[in-house]
């Protein structure tokens, strides 16, 4: 088993991080002057609308991309590339389709813990399959699993490499509401049991408040940046059905939402005012007898016109 982490008060420190891309000859600044600190043992959620550069943020922390400016320090060392100490649960699961559930997880375990014996590794893989309640599907291929089950596998694979920082990149956004609720509970349970330090990226404020110790809004891109952090001091374990009705939860939710909306207004202040839709008045043609063969099941003639000006 891996040794306990030495306690780093600041596990991850991002200072003034910016990242842009060139697309169609034009440079688009995705993230601008981003500052973020994650302490060991806490679960931070970053909430932002789609297209705000959330996945880019994860790629930067994971080391899959390098920032254009600013620094990212992990465990007091600058991030120079990807590594298993920063495990990513990808939005689209990223399971290898030719491997079974067991083999997908085993690939990760075998490459990160090569010093263990085969039996040790097998037992370890099995433990993680059990943790996400997939023992019955251990020999299935990803194509035979539902979206929720695939994301469980992906979660187990990442947890199994014992990352010091777990990066959850919108892990539940592709799932239906019910599956999402179930998996939220499981993630909450696992994070508490395993004392996980994590960064959850999501577009769902409720999810963020349910799981995180701290919620940070990300403004809409381009030039997205992080807002102030909102400490979520709601008692654990948090039960969604009870929590959502408490005044504390509602108050926090309103604060975060208000902030997201305000930041949205300020970034779009220079944008053109919304164009009013033309007022449309339906005009019915006068009824006249129709020859029988011309009758169809199309709706009767209704024409629309927009008045000028």
């Amino acid at each position: 088993m891996p040794q306990e982490d030495t306690v780093d008060e600041h596990l991850l420190i991002m200072r003034g991080v910016s990242k842009g891309f060139v697309q169609g000859g034009r440079r688009i600044e995705v993230l601008a002057d981003l500052n973020l600190t994650i302490h060991t043992g806490e679960l931070v959620a970053i909430v932002g609308s789609s297209g705000s550069g959330k996945s880019t943020l994860v790629s930067l922390i994971a080391g899959l991309q390098t920032p254009d400016s600013g620094t990212i320090e992990f465990a007091a060392k600058p991030v120079s590339g990807p590594g298993p100490e920063r495990g990513v649960v990808f939005q689209n699961y990223s399971l290898l389709p030719w491997l079974s559930v067991t083999d997908n997880i085993a690939l990760a375990v075998n490459s990160v813990f090569p010093q263990w014996s085969t039996a040790e590794r097998q037992e370890y893989v099995h433990k993680f399959i059990q943790m996400v309640n997939l023992s019955h599907a251990a020999h299935k291929r990803p194509s035979e699993l539902s979206g929720g089950m695939r994301q469980r596998v992906s979660l187990a694979r990442t947890l199994a490499i014992k990352p010091r920082l777990l990066l959850l990149d919108e892990p539940l956004s592709a799932l239906d509401a019910l599956t999402r609720a179930v998996l939220q509970q499981e993630i909450a349970r696992i994070c508490a049991d395993e004392k996980i330090t994590g960064l959850l990226i999501t577009n769902d404020i409720d999810e963020a408040l349910l799981l995180a110790d701290r919620v940070i809004p990300l403004t809409a891109g381009p030039k997205a940046t992080l807002g102030p952090s909102f400490v979520v001091d709601l008692p654990r374990p948090r039960d969604a059905s009870v929590l959502f009705h408490t005044p504390e939860f509602r108050e926090l939710r309103t604060k975060v939402m208000t902030h997201l909306l305000e930041m949205r207004h300020s970034t779009h202040a220079s944008a053109k005012p919304a164009r009013p839709l033309p007022s449309v008045i339906p005009v019915h043609e006068r009824w006249r007898p129709v020859p029988k063969e011309a009758v169809s099941d199309q709706p009767s003639d209704v024409k629309f016109f927009a008045p000028k000006g």
Binding site: A62, L64, G81, P82, G83, P84, R86, G87, V88, F90, N92, S94, L96, P97, W98, L99, L107, A108, S111, V112, R141, I161
Partner: protein, 256 residues
């Protein structure tokens, strides 16, 4: 037209009957040297009924000849795959490499086996080596191009998984890139096998090696046209079977 459940059976039969009719009519009218279907069957009987007989170097059962050809094809094909797959990987992985080699490949690809064989003879001297060279260089291209396409099509996500796990170069290749590109590679292998079989006849005709192609050319020289038809049918059937076998493997890989 209404579709019937047995269409797959009687439609091909109908077409074949039609072809035999046209064949019979042709040999009766404008192509007097073409043997009729019955004459073809009669002349070929010995070769079909004793498919593995060996009466002399150039007088053997049709399946025995086929076997010689298959062995030669297999050798050339293995060379094509061993050279073509790594080349395809290099093309797929490196844009620079791809830029450099693409024009060369596009130029060499359409060159006929008939053109390669003399060069093979000059290079290697021996007939069999020249034939292998020709089969390999002609059948290699689908493997090269499909492998390259397969490597380019590997989702970035799979590679990211490998990068986060800090897989070694070889593990990245063996555990992620090859399995991910395998369906494409097999499409290449199937097309290459088809080409290798196509080339064998040309190679054997020129080298005179014993095999279906060699037999065909010899029987043309001995003026036994029935055997030419026998050879053509055999070549076609064998090619068809090879393609089916490969596509079975290919489909299993795709389903995986």
């Amino acid at each position: 037209m209404r579709l019937n459940k047995l269409d797959w059976l009687w439609m091909p039969l109908l077409v074949m009957v039609g072809v035999v009719l046209v064949w019979s009519l042709s040999s009766a009218t404008w192509a007097p040297r073409l043997p009729t279907p019955t004459k073809t069957l009669q002349d070929s009987r010995l070769y079909i009924l004793e498919p593995f007989a060996k009466r002399g170097e150039q007088d053997q059962g049709i399946l025995r000849f086929t076997w010689y050809s298959l062995v030669l094809v297999a050798k050339g094909y293995v060379i094509a795959i061993l050279v073509g797959t790594p080349l395809g990987f290099l093309l797929g992985m490196s844009k620079l490499f791809s830029k450099g080699f693409d024009p060369l490949i596009q130029i060499l690809r359409p060159v006929s086996p008939l053109a390669w064989l003399p060069l093979g003879l000059i290079l290697f001297g021996r007939l069999e080596s020249a034939a292998l060279f020709t089969i390999a260089i002609c059948s290699m291209w689908p493997t090269v191009l499909n492998t390259a396409m397969g490597v380019r099509a590997i989702p970035q996500d799979y590679l990211n998984v490998g990068r986060v796990l800090r897989l070694s170069r070889w593990d990245m290749l063996g555990k992620i890139m090859i399995p991910a590109a395998l369906p494409y590679m097999f499409t290449g292998y199937r097309l290459s096998l088809g080409l290798a079989w196509l080339v064998i006849v040309a190679a054997e005709m020129l080298t005179g090696a014993p095999g279906v192609g060699g037999f065909l050319w010899q029987e043309y020289n001995s003026d036994i046209p029935a055997h030419i038809i026998l050879c053509i049918l055999t070549i076609g059937l064998v090619g068809f079977v090879l393609d089916r076998l490969m596509s079975v493997v290919e489909n299993r890989l795709r389903a995986a």
